[in-house]
Assembly symmetry: C2
Homo-oligomer: 220 residues x 2
C-alpha cells in the first residue's frame, strides 16, 4: 500500500514538470521529440545526420540522456547544433524535471525543434511523460523483428518508428513485413520509416516529416 | 524519506529470495548464470547454440524473462532443453522471487547448469541480485564499442562478457581493442569472449569455460 502511495507521489511530481515543459513548448511553438530505443540502435547517428540534412532549414537542439559520459553530446555539437548532456548516474530513464532543467541550458528561443535522446533502454523510458510533443521509437535491424511483440509499450505509444540499419537487411534474419505488421497491430496510426542513417537511405522521408511537423507547430 | 524506506523494504524482500536461490543452487551443486544485455544482442541464439554444442556433456535448463511473449522459451525448447518462461508484464527486470518460482518449474535435480536470460535491458537488471552464481554480459558489435563506458554497471559486475556478432565487424565501426580496454578498466578479472553465435566462431572457448565452471561447482 505504502509502495503505491509513494510511486503515485513520484509520478505526480513528474507530471507537474511534464506540464511545465508542455506549456514552455506551446509558448515557443516548437515541437519536442523524445527518442527511445535499445542501446546502440543508432539514435545519435540518426540525430547527427538529420541535423546536417536540415541545416539552414530547421534549427535543432538536442538534450542527451546517458547514464555516464558526454560522448553523445560531443557528437551532436560536432554538427554545429547545441546539445546539453544529462548524466543520470545509474537511472534508467530521463525525468521531466531533468528535461525542464535542460530547456534552460539550451537556446530554445532560437530553435525550431528539440530532440530528447533518452537513455538507451527499450523498456523504462516509454512510461515516463516528459511533456514531449511525441515519442519516437527506433528499432535497428540487427536487434531482430521480434522486438515490437516483445517490448510493446514504446511501439504502442510512438508517433513514428524508425527501422534503422536497413543496410544490414541482407545479413540479418529480419522480416520487414512482419515487423511492420506487429507495430501496426499495436498502433495503427504510427508512421514507419525504413532508414539507414549510415548510408542515408530513407532519411529524406523522415526529414520531410520533421519539417512538416515543425511548420505545423509554428502556426498552431 | 518514505521512498527510501519503501525501496529498502523491496530490496530486503528480494534479498531473502536471492539467499534462498543461492542455498538451493549450493545444495544441488549447479551454477546458475544470469545473462544480461540490450534487446537483440543475441542472448537466445547464444544459449540455443551453447545447448546444442554441449548436448550429451552438460544438461542445461533455461529461465526466460520477457515482458511479453514466450518466443524465447519456444526457441530454447526446440533444442530439447527445458525452459520456463516468465512474463514480467511491463517490469524491466526479473526478481529473485520470480527465479525462485521458476526453479520449481524446471527439473533442476537433473541439470548441470541453469541459465537465466533476463529481460533485454542493459541498465536495470544489473543491480538486481537473483542469487545467481555469476552475471554474464553480452554486447553485440552493431551496438557500438562505446557501450561499456556508457553503461558501466553490468560490465563492472559480470564474470564474463561475450562480444557477439563478430561476423559483422567489417560492417560496423567497432574497435575491439577499445571495447576490451574499456571493459577491463571497469573489471580487471573479467573473462572476455569474442564470438559469433551465428557462425560458431569463438564459441568453443565459451563452451569450455562453461564446462569447467560446471565441473568445478560439482566438487566444491
Amino acid at each position: 500500500m505504502r509502495k503505491v502511495v509513494v510511486e503515485k507521489k513520484i509520478l505526480v511530481a513528474n507530471e507537474e514538470f511534464a506540464n511545465k515543459n508542455r506549456e514552455f513548448l506551446a509558448r515557443l511553438k516548437i515541437p519536442c521529440l523524445n527518442v527511445i530505443s535499445s542501446p546502440g540502435s543508432g539514435k545519435t547517428t540518426i540525430l547527427a545526420k538529420t541535423i546536417e540534412a536540415l541545416k539552414g532549414k530547421i534549427k535543432i537542439g538536442v538534450i542527451e540522456g546517458d547514464i555516464q559520459t558526454d560522448i553523445d553530446a560531443q557528437r551532436i555539437r560536432a554538427t554545429g547544433a547545441p546539445a546539453y548532456q544529462i548524466n543520470t548516474e545509474g537511472a534508467c530513464h530521463l525525468s521531466a524535471a531533468q528535461v525542464n532543467y535542460a530547456f534552460d541550458k539550451l537556446p530554445c528561443e532560437t530553435l525550431d525543434l528539440v530532440f530528447i535522446e533518452n537513455v538507451g533502454n527499450l523498456v523504462c523510458p516509454s512510461a515516463m511523460d516528459l511533456g514531449e510533443t511525441a515519442k519516437i521509437a527506433v528499432l535497428s535491424v540487427p536487434e531482430g523483428d521480434d522486438k515490437p511483440a516483445k517490448y510493446p509499450a514504446i511501439f504502442s505509444r510512438a508517433a513514428a518508428v524508425l527501422i534503422n540499419k536497413i543496410d544490414l537487411l541482407t545479413l540479418a534474419d529480419f522480416d520487414i513485413e512482419k515487423a511492420k505488421a506487429d507495430i501496426l497491430k499495436l498502433n495503427k496510426n504510427v508512421k514507419i520509416f525504413l532508414v539507414s542513417a549510415k548510408t542515408g537511405d530513407g532519411m529524406q522521408q523522415w526529414n520531410t516529416w520533421l519539417t512538416e511537423l515543425s511548420n505545423k507547430t509554428k502556426v498552431t
